[in-house]
Amino acid sequence: MTAGTATRAKRWFRRPDTGGGSNALIGHNKAIPYLFSLPSIILVAAILGFPVLYGVWQSLFRAESLGAPLEYVGFQNYVEMFSGPEFWHALNRTAVFVFGSLILGTALGLFFAFALFRVVGKLRFLRAVTVAPYIISNVAAAVMFRLLFNSQFGMVNQVIELFGFEGLGWLADPALAMFVVIVTQVWTDLPLTILVLLGGLMTIDKSYLDAALVDGATGWTRARRLTIPLLTPQLVISIVWLSYSTLTGLGVVLAMTGGGPLKATQTLAMEMYTVAFRNLEFNQGLAIATFILVLNALLTLAYIGVARRYEYEQ
């Protein structure tokens, strides 16, 4: 890591001084901090904390039929989930969705970040353009990309036909539908990826690059041997962010394909939605939700581990 990043990181490292510490005001009414913070703490506990714990607890129950009283069944919902083919199919689709988005998202993120790095501070409108997808809802993005990839009048097929090839049935073909969903998901997630990677490029010490230039390393070699390794922390951040977003993302898939065609885009998130809200087997759906939450928590912990290692190396 470079000196620039290190000092910057150190500055931030000190930040969440949650002990009140030197910042604490002296001689205040003892009740005030509680009055101020309790509404937030209660609301967060009620909206985020309690429902999740309640959901995990409820995944140990089930109703024999819709409306029947709930019975405690232990891990029965999980046993059946792991022994059913739907779960493994959904897990497989999730893997394709997550890894596909990671590869496309990281590649495009790097490409655009390098491009923007060359004109930093010059073309300000590019920042607005880069960030624009962030203000669009998942559903709106799905509609837009359905128009773009429409098999009859979509622009993508028009371009393909311009080159004399046959247009493709993008959303009707199981393999292609997953690709379109990945492209759309990446479109919605890319602004952050680009900004994080661009931020990483800005922190790289210029003298490294100049030294490499003196040694005759240019263009691709310099990017591959020097810039990209120096970007590792930012790459980790954007990879974790993309996996989080795709693993727990429902909006794009639901609005675009609803899991089809032929369940080709039936990810775990879609499977949970289908089981809970289409089959109305809420408790079985909660077992899938819990599985996703655990997977996501492991991912977050792994990320913290990696992030820590980079801090120590500095």
Binding site: P16, A24, L25, S37, L43, V129, L192
Partner: protein
């Protein structure tokens, strides 16, 4: 619970840099390249990725705009990007439909409600976390992790079941409270950072001069923290305006839904897809935010960078 301490600085260091990137410090002058022609070619080659970036972002909007100005039948017969006979029929149809007007009003109410409630509840909490030593202040550490550990997907079933049990479905207030709860950890964490940058000596000096806590908050802290509050407000409004997974389960009756849900239902009618109306609906959903976007872009970027995932 100290584990995640390492997470924040790393993220923060790069995002701080991103913000800097976005400010754009002047780069050092280019070394003179070869001849003018070579430089021209070089400039052009450098521009290609930037053109690709613009196309990547703008093309979906362009195509949608194009379709929205066409007649239903022309979408298929005239696939050109620029409609030969542009018409506003689709917009008239959408604007006169109950589903749009009702969901638009709902979205506005929920958006503003969430923004106000997040600020009203979040700002004092952040101030307490930043300035006071009290039991429970360590919960802030939990706040930094919660949004990541609890995605809205994991809340769908439990919140739906709880809302059914409490008879809170189809209510704007339910949406406002749920969204606020989801946004608070991030909002509080962001504000704490801002408050800590305000030197407490200013406040102590005011205190000595006899200013009460309320006066200090009103005349010293609030003005200094205004940019942070705008950032959080924009972040909250965006989330409420675009949220889809929870409104999907928390509302079910026509007239109670927000825009993303209504748009989702609109394209669900397979077979008789009305593409121009869908496109017009999409753009009308996006438009209000795009109009303010140019003004609040700085805050959107700040929110995106610091939110990093919400």
């Amino acid at each position: 619970m100290t584990d995640h301490r390492a997470e924040e600085p790393l993220l923060a260091s790069s995002t701080a840099a991103a913000a800097e990137a976005v400010e754009g410090p002047p780069r050092e002058p280019k070394r003179p390249a070869g001849g003018r022609i070579r430089r021209g070619t070089r400039q052009f080659l450098l521009a290609i990725p930037l053109i690709a970036l613009v196309l990547w972002t703008v093309l979906p909007f362009l195509v949608t705009t194009s379709v929205s100005f066409k007649e239903k039948a022309d979408v298929f017969s005239e696939p050109s990007l620029i409609p030969t006979e542009p018409t506003l029929d689709a917009y008239r149809e959408v604007l006169s439909s109950d589903s749009f007007t009702a969901s638009f009003i709902n979205s506005v109410v929920v958006g503003i409600g969430t923004t106000v409630l997040t600020l009203v509840i979040g700002v004092p909490a952040a101030y307490a976390f930043a300035r006071f030593r009290f039991r429970g202040r360590h919960l802030l550490l939990l706040f930094t992790l919660l949004p990541r550990l609890v995605p809205s997907l994991g809340l769908m079933v439990p919140i739906y079941r709880l809302a059914v049990a409490a008879g809170l479905l189809d209510k704007r207030m339910t949406l406002i409270i749920v969204y606020t709860g989801m946004l608070l950890p991030l909002a509080v964490w962001l504000m704490v950072g801002f408050f800590q940058q305000i030197p407490k000596e200013i406040e102590e000096a005011a205190n000595v001069d006899g200013a009460s806590l309320w006066t200090r908050l009103r005349y010293i802290v609030a003005p200094l923290a205004a940019p942070a509050m705008i950032t959080i407000g924009v972040l909250a409004f965006r989330e409420a305006w675009n949220e889809f997974t929870l409104v999907l389960v928390l509302t079910s009756t026509p007239g109670k839904r927000t825009l993303p849900y209504e748009l989702y239902l609109m394209q669900g009618i397979e077979g008789l897809a009305n593409f121009p109306a869908e496109a017009a609906f999409t753009l009308l959903t996006v438009l209000p935010f795009v109009l303010v976007y140019t003004r609040v872009e700085k805050y959107v970027v700040a929110g995106l960078v610091s939110g990093s995932g919400k």
